[in-house]
Amino acid sequence: MFFSNFGMSSKKFHTFIKLNPVFQKAFMSENKKKKSPEDSKIEKMLESSRRDFLKKVGLVGAASVAGAAAVYSGYRYEKAKSSGETVKVLTEDNRLVEIPKDQVKGYKPDPKALLLRGREGIKGKKWVMVIDLSRCRNARKCVNACQGAHHLRPYEYHINTLVMQESVNTPKYFMPKPCQHCDNPPCVSVCPVDATFKRQDGIVLIDNERCIGCRFCMAACPYSARMFHWQEPLNAEADKDKDYNIELNVPQKKGTISKCLFSADRLRENLLPYCVSACPNGVFYFGDENENAVTNGTTKETVNLKELLEKNGAYRLMAELGTKPRVYYLPPKNRLFEFKQGEEPEYKELT
């Protein structure tokens, strides 16, 4: 798998749906308020055929997550004649068929199933990020894209670009700093309620419907990667009625932690993280350690991960702490840009 804009950049494209009883049942059960035995049966089915299920849900991708998609409820060709509009859908045997639009049943994804898959992660993946410091000139496009996607204020960061200098004799350089998604995450160790957790694909996520706001994780994180909602979040009013998306951490909630998610929602759609694709200078590589391949967010060039790390003297931030970060840095050698520190805007607290 390599990232391309092919895939499910769905809204323009036709809705791809696989007909599948598990899938349909899972997403249609939302009408029943009470948990029936049937529901728990479905949960069991979900559990047993997880791989299968995730693959299918993955296919629906953005459409299902956004809740904007429609599901094909029956292939009744006769009725098609009554309506003019049609949509293309994918059947279980991988045939692309056209059906009347009014035969398509709207659905909302089952929040429980979404939360579950959000906690599990994407099977078989080990996400990894490589940040090439020789290319960063502090455009802060990564920061802005991230803040836009996650509804954050200008001074609330999932990723921040810092001015670094090791000593007076060494030059200054810019360093984008997302969450390091440690394999030995101190934040996850100290969380009292399992609100922040490590997924099988390497991502450290936060469940802001679970977080009690004790901020122990902030105290434990050596990378200052976490932020807290000290006041009502930026889009609180507008996001009020949205279902919580654990892979986007929107809506953000007052009194809870938020943090970089490696854009888990975008990975679900086979897309690169927001910051990675927003960078104009090719600073970020992102990919799967298991595949030993990372893709540059700007050039879309895919390279061998181990080679990239080896040839450029890669390192990890404060490796001596034993946190085992999943973010690698390439030192600021042979820089593309001269170090020029622009005017620092004044950050004022907004309400």
């Binding site: 160790s189 706001g213 050596p222 200052s224 000290w230 006041q231 009502e232 009194g255 607290e349």
Partner: protein, 452 residues
């Protein structure tokens, strides 16, 4: 503590006479008078005002405090640590000294337990005031992860509170029976409460025997428990990699500091009860003299841990330790740091070495300094290490960089202190503040020995 109670002593005239005089002295203060109602009323009004500040925080979020992403633990956590620390004195006085057979602690053991109960109870509430989502407190029990030190803290603080409550209550049962039969002219509901709580105590020697056995078990049990609560509290910091917190001696450092603040609190309470309750006969100058020695001992141990905590990293000056220590020694926090170390620790110890200073009034004044210093010391432990994280703090509003507690924060903290005072007031005014039966027993034994 002898478990067996001598039956002949119990029925002797000497004991009965002593019981008469001691109970009349101590029960004199157990009443609902104007002063008590006024004081309690004042505490409640102040508490309501301060709690109003908390409702603002509930409504608007923790943003009304001075806390931000850089310094995300501040006054509330410092106050929590102080409360847990001070509550440890119950264990020090009753268990460490009591089990060692120290006789003179008998009149002050109950005062120490009241302080332990009050501070431990409110410590739990203080930690809730620091939560971003206090409505999700039940999640700690529903989704609790045993790997998190917060779970350990919740467990041991709760257990310590209940064991301290028992340590206060068990020796009180005979006194409640005495109060029930001897107190006249008090509101009937109070007598009813004594009657209920005294569990039909008839002063049978067998009852005393069972009670003393139970006490001994609890006194042993509370030693590891008390060590656990403050060690775990110190681990909330020590398990993180931050300079200033990343220390392997944080457990004993906190425990030794806890004994200092707790002993100071007991001295202040002793002085108050001695003067206001006119108990000069029972809380004697000798008691102050000896408690003063205890304070010197625990303070010297604490100074020793301070030397370790600051000199060892100060010698190596690892980059971030260096920044942190510079802040404390010569930087922004220097006045606070040196003020606390000198006025709240070193000078009190030096002064208390003189026998002439170990008198009630000067000791009370010194104890106030020590206690205030102990509170500020917790602030120094909690706040400055967060100001200089591993990576630079950039592109944030100015008020995020420097932590300054807000009025709301101070009010909520004040509320917790007021609540402690309410608990101490109620427990010390509605129930005998000194153990009547124990003092009578002791005095009778001494008298009989003198006759022999």
């Amino acid at each position: 503590m002898s478990v067996k109670m001598d039956v002949s002593l119990f029925t002797s005239d000497a004991y009965k006479k002593k019981l008469d005089s001691v109970s009349s002295d101590i029960l004199r203060n157990v009443r609902i008078n104007k002063g008590f109602i006024l004081w309690l009323g004042f505490l409640f009004v102040a508490l309501v005002v301060c709690l109003y500040a908390y409702t603002i925080q509930l409504r608007k979020g923790l943003g009304v405090t001075g806390l931000r992403d850089v310094t995300s633990w501040g006054m509330y956590i410092a106050n929590f640590v102080f409360f847990v620390a001070t509550s440890l004195v119950g264990m020090l006085i009753s268990s460490v000294l009591g089990l060692a057979g120290t006789k003179w602690i008998k009149p002050i053991a109950r005062i120490a337990e009241i302080i332990a109960v009050a501070f431990a109870a409110v410590a739990g509430l203080v930690i809730i005031s620091d939560m971003g989502r206090p409505d999700r407190l039940p999640y700690v029990f529903r989704f609790g992860r045993v790997q998190s030190p917060i779970l350990w803290d919740v467990t041991v603080v709760t257990t310590y509170f209940f064991v301290s409550l028992l340590l206060w209550f068990l020796p009180l049962i005979p006194d409640l029976a005495i109060s029930k039969s001897r107190l006249t002219g008090r509101p009937p509901f109070l007598i009813k409460v004594y009657d209920m709580l005294s569990f039909k105590w008839i002063h049978h020697p067998k009852q005393y025997e069972i009670m003393k056995q139970a006490m001994r078990v609890l006194l042993i049990l509370i030693v590891p428990l008390a060590f656990a609560i403050h060690t775990v509290t110190s681990w909330l910091f020590a398990v993180t990699p931050r300079s200033g917190w990343d220390s392997s001696i944080f457990g004993p450092y906190f425990i030794s500091g806890a004994f200092v603040s707790g002993t100071a609190a007991v001295i202040i309470a002793m002085y108050f009860f001695r003067v206001n309750y006119k108990l000069q006969k029972y809380l004697t100058e000798d008691h102050f003299e000896k408690t003063g020695r205890v304070l010197v001992l625990v303070s010297i141990v604490y100074i020793y841990f301070n030397l370790n905590e600051f000199i060892v990293p100060g010698y190596k000056l690892k980059s971030l330790d260096a920044i942190h220590l510079k802040e404390l020694f010569t930087g922004e926090y220097a006045p606070l740091f040196w003020g606390v170390q000198l006025l709240g620790l070193v000078i009190p110890v030096v002064l208390l070495l003189f026998k002439g200073i170990r008198k009630p009034l000067p000791m009370m004044i010194i104890a106030v300094f020590v206690l205030a210093g102990a509170w500020l010391k917790r602030f120094i432990i909690v706040v400055p290490p967060q100001a200089h994280p591993f990576l630079p703090v950039q592109h944030v509003p100015f008020q995020w960089i420097v932590y300054k507690p807000t009025l709301i924060e101070i009010s909520v903290t004040l509320a917790s202190i007021l609540l402690v005072l309410v608990i101490i007031t109620v427990l010390s005014k509605l129930f005998p503040i000194l153990p009547i039966w124990e003092i009578a027993e002791d005095e009778a034994v001494t008298e009989m020995e003198q006759i022999k």
